[in-house]
């Protein structure tokens, strides 16, 4: 009787496992066919010369060697991307946090304000880019119109924004801040989670708004700040669309980002092998940067009281 019941349980487990795999199979097939296979294929292709018409020809490490030693545009695009990540990510975090702090108040119509700040996140990036192209247009755009009294006051030439190599990158970064409402929502959610008792205790001790912000709110928000930081790094290295639409990588390749160059390597130069090598280099760069960032986790992120 006992043996029979053990056998039945084993049989039941087997059946359950089979059913489990069966139900999970669409996802498993998806990740293997649509995820793992292309990743592995691109790794192989990165060691070949492949024009997407003829069969790939094995060239060993040549794609990697060329990129590192004899491709000026590779380094230029990498620098443009690193510049973007270095400025855009911290700036995005600061603006997102400031917005969240401002919108974490109990005033009339707050939900409307929150919606308004989040709204840009649901606007198509193409439409957004075209809109900002109008706004930043140096000769007749509204931003320079608004700033014209300042230009006159300081006897300055109008800023050429995306038309000048010296200001184009920062123009695209400023434009990107328009979508800071996305991270703001995450910060707000975490702020709502902070126990009221902490603020009440601080108030009893006579803490003002700034002290409460820096001693309670921001430390307790570090998990979400860190999450946005990591996601920002990963997304930042893949910046492409705004440059593709607004500047075509110009002027003087100042907004020719890494992903843009990789796209051109594939589509314009028909060099899929080289483009795959670039993809793998980018993966390694992002992995290393993310790894270092994750090391900060224990030092800067508040993970609750131990014990």
């Amino acid at each position: 009787m006992k043996k029979q019941s053990i056998g039945s349980i084993k049989q039941l487990k087997k059946t359950e496992n089979r059913m489990g795999y069966l139900f999970a199979s669409p996802w498993l097939i998806g990740i293997i066919v649509l995820g793992a296979f292309p990743i592995l294929a691109s790794f192989y292709i990165s060691f070949t010369s492949y024009d997407m018409a003829s069969a790939p020809v094995w060239v060993g490490l040549k794609n990697y060697i060329i990129l590192f030693t004899n491709d000026d545009v590779f380094w230029k695009s990498l620098w443009n991307t690193i510049y973007h990540v270095l400025i855009a990510i911290p700036l995005g975090l600061i603006v997102g946090i400031i917005l969240a702090l401002l919108l974490n108040n109990k005033i009339r119509g707050m939900s409307i304000y929150r919606t308004l700040f989040y709204l840009p996140c649901v606007v198509s990036i193409v439409a957004m880019s075209l809109l900002w192209l109008w706004l930043f247009q140096p000769q007749f755009g509204i931003i320079n119109e608004v700033l014209s009294p300042l230009y006159k006051l300081f006897n300055m030439e109008p800023i050429l924004w995306y038309q000048s190599a010296s200001t184009s990158k920062i123009t695209l970064i400023l434009m990107g801040l328009w979508t800071a409402g996305g991270s703001m929502v995450i910060y707000l959610a975490q702020m709502q989670d902070i126990p009221k008792s902490l603020y009440e205790s601080a108030e009893v001790d006579g803490a003002n708004w700034i002290q409460k912000t820096f001693s309670i709110t921001l430390p307790l928000m570090t998990p979400s700040i860190f999450f946005n930081f990591i996601m920002g790094i990963i997304g930042g290295f893949q910046v492409f669309t705004i440059a593709y639409i607004m500047t075509n990588g110009g002027p003087a390749q100042s907004t020719y980002y890494y992903a843009y160059y990789m796209f051109d390597k594939m589509m314009s130069d028909q060099a899929m092998g080289m483009a795959s090598a670039m993809a793998w280099i980018l993966l390694v760069i992002v992995l290393i940067v993310t790894m270092f960032a994750l090391r900060l986790n224990k030092k800067v992120v508040y993970l609750g009281e131990e014990g």
């Binding site: 010369s49 024009d51 997407m52 018409a53 003829s54 060239v59 040549k62 794609n63 060329i66 004899n70 491709d71 000026d72 545009v73 192209l133 109008w134 247009q137 140096p138 000769q139 007749f140 050429l160 038309q163 190599a165 075509n248 990588g249 110009g250 002027p251 003087a252 390749q253 020719y256 051109d264 589509m267 314009s268 130069d269 028909q270 092998g273 080289m274």
Partner: protein, 437 residues
């Protein structure tokens, strides 16, 4: 009960799926044809009608047409060719047919022509321009046929000409005439805003290599080595830079961007009196219902030793070798291929697509009585396509534009810009050779 329900569902699904494959049951060999007239496009019905006519004209083959928008088409066809899932017949760019032929993804059209004894729509090579067929020839065999032909010409606004007492006879033919007449139309507001230009050698479909060709120069020598920083190249570049030197680059950029942002064609909106454009502008003006009075002539050439030439290209009609094409599929595809290149179908395609097609007699009949189209077609005989450079397939686009815009913006001197561009091409050439040695 559950089993009965399951069986019923399986039966319904099977019947539905079989129903989707109605044509297969008719035992006709299916041929796929990818084109650029998707559902919703003005040319969709007529292209579909031509396909239907072919399907009804015989009972061996069934052509399934699939239309993509121009912007989507290129990614689709490139991926399909790379993955050996290309359609039986498709369109592509004629200047790089050789690279695809070399890769073995195209069927040999010469072989198919030799084996064709049907006597139906037999291809007559005399009806196609040799200059176009040269681009489709690999190892002395044709691997594609020219499907359409484009040309570039100078469009001039006769209403604006009339305002200044000019007539059609005053249309410029040389660079100096162009400069003199263009200046007459320039208007600048008190605040510096340019509201009208006579002409700008960087607007419309002008290209630096187009101006070079007219001067007997090119980007590359016969061995495809970059040769673009000679004093003669510099002279052409300086002519472009100096053409509108009365205005700053910032003024000209603002003028150009205003056109782009407002979504207006500077010629149809009468913001420029003259513009170099391809035959597509004729179609744009025609479909917009504009009543603009204009003329078309050859692009003006240098005053001394100028060459009458323009950049003209066209689509190639290709039959793809996916490695598993059956004899029936190849025969059917070739039958439809010939049909598409036949005189009446080429006329019908010209009318529906608004393109100049490749068939010479068909186009002569198509443009008859329309002086604008006649002038545009005449330019096809002077058109030349850009050379395919394996180490820099986009040499005229992203590669060159980086330096060209810096030169135009004044960020690089013409000398430095041309040298930098040449070095860029040399580096690409070296890297390509390293990979293909």
């Amino acid at each position: 009960m559950k089993k009965v329900l399951l069986m019923f569902l399986v039966m319904v699904a099977s019947v539905t799926l079989l129903g989707c494959n109605k044509e297969a049951t008719e035992e006709r060999t299916e041929i796929t044809f990818w084109h650029m007239s998707p559902v919703g496009d003005v040319s969709y019905s007529s292209v579909k009608g031509l396909i239907t006519d072919f399907n009804e004209s015989q009972d061996l083959y069934f052509v399934k047409g699939v239309g993509f928008s121009f912007w989507d088409y290129w990614d689709k066809i490139n991926v399909a060719v790379a993955s050996r899932t290309a359609p039986s017949i498709g369109l592509s760019t004629i200047d790089d047919v050789v690279s695809r032929a070399e890769s073995g993804v195209l069927l040999n059209i010469s072989d198919l022509m030799d084996a064709d004894t049907s006597g139906i729509n037999t291809l007559d090579l005399n009806e196609f321009r040799q200059s176009q067929m040269d681009f489709a020839t690999y190892e002395e065999d044709l691997y594609a046929m020219p499907f359409s032909a484009t040309s570039r010409a100078l469009f001039y606004n006769l209403d604006m000409f009339d305002e200044l007492g000019l007539t059609e006879a005053d249309a410029p033919t040389t660079w100096s005439e162009l400069e003199t007449i263009a200046k007459m139309f320039d208007i600048q507001e008190a605040d510096g805003t340019v509201t009208r230009l006579g002409f700008d050698p960087t607007y419309g479909d002008t290209t630096y290599h187009g101006w070079l060709w007219q001067s007997g120069l090119d980007f590359f020598d016969e061995d495809l080595n970059p040769t673009l920083n000679t004093p003669e190249h510099l002279e052409v570049l300086n002519w472009i830079l100096d053409f509108n030197k009365d205005f700053t680059r910032s003024q000209l950029t603002a003028f150009g961007e205003a056109n782009a942002m407002l979504g207006v064609n500077p010629f149809t909106s009468e913001r420029v009196a003259m513009i170099v454009s391809n035959d597509g502008l004729y179609q744009t003006i025609d479909t917009s219902g504009s009543d603009i009075n204009y003329g078309v002539t050859s692009i003006p050439i240098p005053d001394e030793n100028g060459i009458h030439v323009c950049w003209g290209s066209g689509f190639s009609l290709e039959m793809y070798d996916n490695g598993d094409n059956t004899d029936a599929e190849v025969a059917g595809a070739y039958s439809f291929y010939k049909y598409l290149l036949s005189e009446p179908v080429q006329i019908a395609l010209g009318e529906s697509l608004g393109w100049l097609m490749s068939h010479i007699t068909a186009m002569e009949k198509y443009v008859e009585g329309d002086p604008i189209l006649e002038a545009l077609l005449a330019e096809v005989d002077y058109s030349m396509d850009k050379v395919y450079v394996p180490y820099a397939p986009a040499w005229h686009a992203s590669d060159w534009q980086t330096y060209y815009t810096q030169i135009l913006d004044g960020d690089l001197t013409p000398e430095a810009g041309l040298l930098a561009a040449r070095n860029h091409y040399l580096q690409k050439q070296e890297n390509y050779n390293t990979l293909h040695e």
